[in-house]
Symmetry: C2
């Protein structure tokens, strides 16, 4: 089967490319063509043996033509202008996160119809930013969506439109609402949630960390590797009968205090001494009050969180770490 990963050069995309290459199959069907699309690629992706890359912007007609020729069986759509950058430039967000995404859906649908096979599977990286701020407690499948940023609004619109392509039998869409993923590289990312990764990098290295949220602030946590595993599972799973086709991934809900305690324990540092709390109300309002998530529907589909706080921080910071569930393909 042919597999396309848009945003394959990005943080989550790179983790997914490595996983797809290592796993070599989706739902028991072997991957014979694996293609990453992005504006540029880090060596860790371009160096993966046997993969192909398309360099360019998703909005370019040439790129859409290349996708039409590829005719992917499965597309993981991760390419996006992230939250903070989208809020700073809503027109850019419309171009990439909305217009080019819909062009991609149209292109994949047209290519699928031309092949006459099963409709292409599209695993869409959506976001918990669709829910709103502050979040109601708990978040359930019937929680009304009130995106607090343009990023979440565009993602939510695309979820709805992907569900409509699915209803029409043109695509087989599965939107996964992702939380902040750790640990991103220590570089400007355009993401307001960047402090979550910085906490892991700094404290695990024994460096001081200034937290923009207080010690009791709770957030939803997931490692990049577990995120990639959920995306892969999202393509293979039987999505059942819910026509909305959008699910939050299960998450670990941890306070900063719990996170600091886990990092202290795992990395042998004095986290309590290294962290200084300087809560910023605007950051705390969005990233510091995550409620209980009713993720039973997601778990029933086989989606998984990182298991334990220890496994989360190890998996996030150590590529070689094998979790206790590695034998089941969720290492």
């Amino acid at each position: 089967m042919k597999v396309l990963v848009t945003g394959g050069g990005g943080f989550i995309g790179a983790a997914l490319m490595r996983l797809l290459h290592a796993h070599g199959a989706i739902g028991g069907r072997a991957i014979d063509t694996l293609v990453a699309l992005d504006r540029r690629f880090p060596p860790e992706v371009s160096g993966i043996p046997g993969i192909a890359t398309i360099e360019g912007d998703l909005g370019d007609a040439d790129v859409q033509r290349a996708i039409a020729q590829l005719k992917p069986d499965v597309c993981f759509h991760l390419a996006a202008v992230p939250g903070g950058a989208a809020e700073a430039d809503p027109a850019l967000s419309r171009r990439v996160n909305l217009d080019a995404t819909l062009d991609l859906f149209d292109t994949l649908a047209g290519a699928g119809v031309a092949r006459g096979a099963q409709p292409p599977v599209v695993v869409y990286a959506s976001t918990i930013a669709v829910y709103g701020s502050p979040l109601p407690d708990p978040v359930t499948p019937s929680t009304p969506t009130r995106p607090p940023m343009v990023y979440g609004a565009h993602k939510l619109a695309c979820e709805i439109l992907l569900a409509d392509f699915t209803r029409r039998g043109l695509l087989d869409g599965r939107s996964l609402r992702l939380p902040g993923i750790v640990a991103r590289p220590r570089a400007p990312s355009g993401l307001v949630s960047a402090f979550m990764s910085e906490a892991l990098h700094a404290l695990s290295a024994g460096e001081p960390f200034e937290s923009p949220v207080g010690p009791m602030a709770t957030a939803w946590w997931m490692s990049a590797r577990r995120c990639a595993q959920n995306l892969l599972h999202g393509a293979a799973m039987d999505p059942g009968g819910d026509t909305q086709r959008a699910w939050p991934v299960p998450v670990l809900r941890l306070s900063m205090t719990e996170l600091v305690r886990t990092l202290s324990h795992v990395f042998g540092v004095d986290g309590e001494r290294l962290v200084r709390y300087a809560p910023q109300p605007a950051v705390e309002a969005i990233f510091g009050r995550y409620p209980v998530l009713d993720d039973r529907a997601s778990r029933a589909l086989g989606l998984r969180d990182d298991g334990t706080p220890e496994a989360l921080v190890r998996r996030a910071l150590d590529d070689a770490f094998q979790g206790p569930d590695a034998a089941a393909g969720w290492g």
Copy 2:
């Protein structure tokens, strides 16, 4: 103030143009410029004294430029490819119901910023087709949306994006989810719900009517004039604090039997003899099982249904009918 009505040549648009011209003000502020935009206009609209018209397609750059120059204080956005036509041509629906609508929001927002005044008020004609089929009973503000047609999917996406423009302070959006509106002229409209208007026309004229839904089928009903009154109120009302900015209009929920009985009484016909029930499962599934609508939030904002079944059918069929609440501007 300057007021623009897109789709001002259509069925609801014409009713709104007549009402705006007759009323002459929105929320106590006089209308000094009233402009209708559409691809063509019936004489009942083009003949309204003192109005201006823009003839063209909402997606045309020239039309968007004309809107930018007009800099409306209030825009009623009604122009759309209707349900059946959108389902037959999803690409056309994307162009008009999604892309051109977002272009309009961008244009209005840009014109508003250029003026430096209050953000333009946008009353958006959304649809109960956002909810799904079959509808849960009752429909409440927390009912998850699962649009069963491309029309509803595009409308829901635009609701979300209008709420985001509102959050950013660029527009003051108010989406009203409209039910099937009666009585449309007896001509092909592209609307699956056309039978609802046909029932009123045929039975009030003493003609036979074949119903595609059974006698106990319940639907939500509203006259075009009451719909126009709700749109006008939508521009004038204080929308309160709900950031979703989308509300169903209150409706009369009537079974076909109740409707036939009302028409028989008001028009002195033998409706029970004239109607033949030939339920079509596909039509009944979407238009025959409308549940109770929890419209308390909408009523609290001052939105209103037609009052009684008698007032509904009279108002729908007789332009001269004055309802019991005419003195309050809701004739």
